[in-house]
């Protein structure tokens, strides 16, 4: 039974006509999308010579009814939307009825399909015209073979890049589809070699592993969030694994891959200071929402989307990612494998705190050996009386279960589940200092192994969190200037600044014109750091030009970073034992103790197992 109808004239015009097939990769994209729309559970893509010789996409979807086959190659023939209003809630990938006619117009195309009920159809088209028509096996599914792409449009052909580049593009397309549909099994074969394969298990992390390897997939933290209108979920890879480009951030709205700058930014916000400047994460984000809240009909390649309530969505994304990281200990390990134990955080075995500072202040008055002895005893006896101290047996049970690493045993002991402690979770493991190296690194240990801490980065993090609070408190006061500051701008900058004059005035910057492209100010807000007022004002103007608004929060954050760096102990600075202890103690209270505000790691970790491996005590 046929389901395809012609679009009404008006609807056809509403859909922007565009260049559907630009290059082999676009053919792959269109054919794979059709397979998905046909509810395939397995899609095989076979390529030869970068797609120029042959592209064949085979699916096990619902297939074409015999009478639909010819009409599918007519312009604006689609089974997917019928009414104007359907355009406002598109739930399929295709909706224009343009792909098949466009592809067949510039190639030699063969369609073999069956709906599994009727006899199958075999159709051959050349330059958009049917040149042969026959019967085929009645096995449910569709196979479309495209050969000699662009044979009749030499201009297009010339524009194509090397086989290598084209294959890269096609791999990208298939990767994205696989990430969009983890429950569909994708296989990409180039010249008889399998280039990529996903297992269709429905696990996003399996797809990530297929693309980036198991190490990256293991370093990915699942995140999720929900609001009235949106549901977001995905995988955010540990910031230690980062990229120089933005293309490793995948955004899907209702399983459709899109590009959207505000959403991208909201992901970066989620990583916040954990990501080094100029580096980008690997991250997959799925957004589910009512189709009526999103307009994908902006661009012929459907890559852009307009979203209602974008702000709300962005906030939800940032928050979901941030809180996923907050549950984790983001300590880079030396083998490069970050510890991505998404373990139940409440199950952490409490331990006795033997550190001398736990009970008394630091003390230099007595010889080290002596003081340590007495204080340890005191610390011990006081701690034992606390109800919090859990049984040793639970710890032992954990150790029995997994002999592999101690850290697991500490994390996974299940019989302390009903722990009454509601105090804020300490994310930093308790560390006991060993010493300092080169006046720069602090060595510390605990049952989980050896930790090396960059003392500057550590204090920078602590101070940053302190100043971030403090800078926010500054009052709205303005400093008058005897000699005004002059700023020279380009014509467009000048334009923007004058356009936003009122806005700038609100934040305490009163620009007055002074000649054609110069502006002066006679006062500035007092919270601008001394000696760097000009730099900060320039920053503000550039923020305004780039984003159309000024985020005081961002400026103050920059300020906090600057102050933190200035006020922190540097490398090559001896620290005495009580200072080291104090640093570790305040680090353990930091919100994000694992990276400095510039995203560099604060500490690295060697597990006992890694040490044993290094010394070949184990295989």
């Amino acid at each position: 039974m046929g389901v395809i109808k012609r679009l009404s004239e008006t609807l056809a015009n509403k859909i922007a006509a565009g260049e559907v097939v630009e290059r082999p990769a676009s053919v792959v994209k269109e054919l794979v999308e059709n397979a998905i729309d046909a509810e395939a559970s397995s899609v095989l893509i076979e390529i030869e010579e970068g797609g120029l010789k042959r592209i064949k996409v085979t699916d096990d979807g619902r297939g074409f009814a015999p009478e639909d086959c010819r009409i599918a190659f007519e312009r604006h023939a689609t089974s997917k939307i019928h009414e104007d209003s359907d355009l406002f809630h598109i739930a399929t990938l295709g909706f224009r009825g343009e792909a098949l006619p466009s592809i067949s117009a510039v190639s030699h195309l063969e369609l073999t399909t069956s709906d599994g009920v009727h006899p199958g159809t075999h159709l051959v088209l050349q330059g958009g015209h049917v040149i042969a028509d026959g019967l085929a096996q009645s096995r449910k599914g569709t196979s479309i073979k495209v050969e000699g792409l662009f044979y009749n449009t030499p201009a297009r052909l010339k524009y194509l890049k090397s086989i290598h580049t084209e294959l890269g593009q096609m791999t990208d397309v298939v990767n994205r589809m696989a990430l969009a549909y983890p429950h569909v099994r994708f296989t990409l074969v180039h010249e008889q070699k399998t280039v990529f394969q996903s297992n269709g298990s429905g696990q996003l992390s399996h797809v990530l592993a297929a693309i980036y390897g198991v190490r990256t997939a293991k370093a990915a933290f699942p995140f999720s969030g929900k609001s009235l209108d949106f549901k977001v979920e995905g995988l955010a890879v540990h910031p230690q694994i980062s990229r120089a480009g933005r293309q490793y951030v995948y955004i899907f709205i209702n399983n459709r891959f899109i590009r959207n700058y505000p959403i991208f930014n909201s992901i970066m916000e989620g990583y916040h200071t954990l990501m080094m400047i100029g580096r980008y994460p690997i991250c997959v984000l799925h957004i589910q929402m009512d189709p009526s809240l999103v307009d994908v009909n902006v661009h012929p390649a459907k890559l852009e989307a307009r979203i209602s309530k974008e702000k709300e969505l962005c906030a939800l994304i940032s928050e979901s990612i941030r809180s996923a990281f907050h549950r984790e200990r983001l300590i880079p390990s030396v083998t490069g494998k970050p510890h991505s134990r998404a373990s139940k955080p409440k199950n952490e075995q409490q331990t006795l705190d033997f550190s001398p500072t736990a009970v008394t202040g630091p003390d230099l008055s007595e010889p080290i050996e002596h003081s340590e002895h007495t204080q340890t005893e005191k610390a011990f006896s006081e701690q034992v009386h606390e109800p919090e101290t859990h049984t040793f047996s639970s710890q032992m049970a954990g150790k029995d279960e997994s002999a592999t690493t101690l850290e697991q045993s500490v994390q996974d002991t299940s019989d302390v589940e009903d722990s009454p402690s509601d105090e804020p979770q300490r994310r930093m493991p308790k560390l006991y200092p060993i010493g300092q190296m080169h006046g720069t690194y602090i060595f510390a240990q605990n049952e989980d192994g050896l930790y090396i801490i960059d003392q500057h980065a550590a204090q920078e993090r602590i101070k940053y969190e302190f100043f971030r609070e403090k800078v926010g408190e500054t009052a709205r006061e303005v400093q008058q200037l005897l000699v005004p500051m002059t700023f020279d701008f380009s014509a467009s900058e000048y334009e923007t600044v004058t356009e936003y004059q009122d806005y700038l005035q609100e934040i305490g910057l009163n620009f007055e014109s002074f000649g054609t492209r110069s502006l002066i100010i006679r006062s500035y807000p007092t919270w601008l750091p001394e000696g760097r007022e000009e730099e900060m004002i320039n920053d503000i103007v550039h923020q305004l030009i780039e984003t159309g608004k000024v985020s005081i929060k961002k400026l103050r954050e920059k300020l906090a970073k600057m102050m933190a760096c200035k006020r922190s102990i540097k490398a090559n600075h001896y620290l005495r034992p009580d200072e080291i202890q104090a640093l570790l103690d305040s680090l353990s209270k930091a919100q994000d103790p694992f990276t400095c505000p510039h995203g560099r790691p604060v500490l690295v970790h060697f597990t006992p197992y890694e040490m044993e491996k290094m010394f070949k005590r184990v295989q």
Binding site: G361, P362, D363, L364, S365, E366, P367, I368, H438, G439, T440, Q459, R567, S568, I569, K570, N572, H573, Y574, L575, R576, D578, E579, I580, A582, L583, S586
Partner: protein, 393 residues
Amino acid sequence: MQELQDSNPNAALAMKCTVQKDKLADAVNRVMKAISSKTTIPILTGVKITSGRDGITLTGSNSDISIQTFIPLEEDGNENAVVHTPGQIVLPSRLFSELVRKLQDEDVHIEVDSRFIAKITSGATEFSLNGLDPEEYPNLPIINGSDAFRIRKDLLKDMIKQTVYAVSVTETRPVLTGVKWMINDGKLSCVATDSHRLAQRSVSVENGEDSGTHTLVIPGSSLNELSKILDDDDEQLVDIIMTTNQILFKSNNVQFYSRLLDGNYPDTSRLIPTESKTTIDLGTKDLYRAIERASLLAKEERNNVVKLRAEGNQVEISSQSLELGRVFETLVPEHFEGDPLRISFSAKFMMDALGKLDAQSVRIHFVGPMRPIIIRPIGDENILMLILPIRTF
């Protein structure tokens, strides 16, 4: 001195005293040398003030050193301070020191309540500062050793000046950031080296009752600070007391503590050549200035290398910059003995060494182009400076 009324009846009085402003300012100024704004223990950015029966003690402390200054109630018949209620407080040091310096009246009254709020009054000015709990302030090392000796203040300053410049400034080998002191048989010898150069000086000291040998390594930065806070009363003696991990210098009303470095200091004695193939005597200032001029060009090149050629009773100092040009200068030595020689060395190292010597002339011993250069002031066998040459290709 006028009595101050307790104006805060709600909080118990924790300390109350009146001090002469100048005395206080001077004492604060000295302890500030031991207070760093960069520390991992926030209370150490403060100054601790203790009012006791005999006077007022100020304390500052950082990773390396602690300084205590004492203001006696009475000194040479003058009244410096009055303690009404003994007690202690820790105040933010930067603020407190500036505040004290800027006060106008002769006297400063400090009154602390049990919530650690300090009211500081002087004339018509009244400050209220939030202090910190003095109980949290780390205790200073207790030093009651009998291992002690005394040295004249000017001599101590000289010794520091002539050795400390050669310590290593990086923590890569921490023990080299210190000056090694060896006390033996009434003699103190000091050595410093950053492994490219070395400075050594010895003096006689007044031993305490014990006459054993002591070897300790004092951080160079501590010695620099010590020199800065010692006053100009040169003939006075400084008491020095040693323990295994601390050293204490006592002079007048100042106590200066420094940590000691642990680790084995390398044996430097065998690094100093005993023979000499070429020996040249030169005016200290003449040589210094010649090298200074040559280094104008040498500085432009990264390495700052100056060449010395000694031949036929003439010494030629030269240097060259590929871009800028070259410079030559000849000096006539006061005395020349041995083989002709060409050698290159760092202008900075040589100037550092020469600049610390007060003698009119120096005697320089060379053993070969790749062997250490020894510089000694003529007339003082107790001082030796060594620098290693630079190999040029």
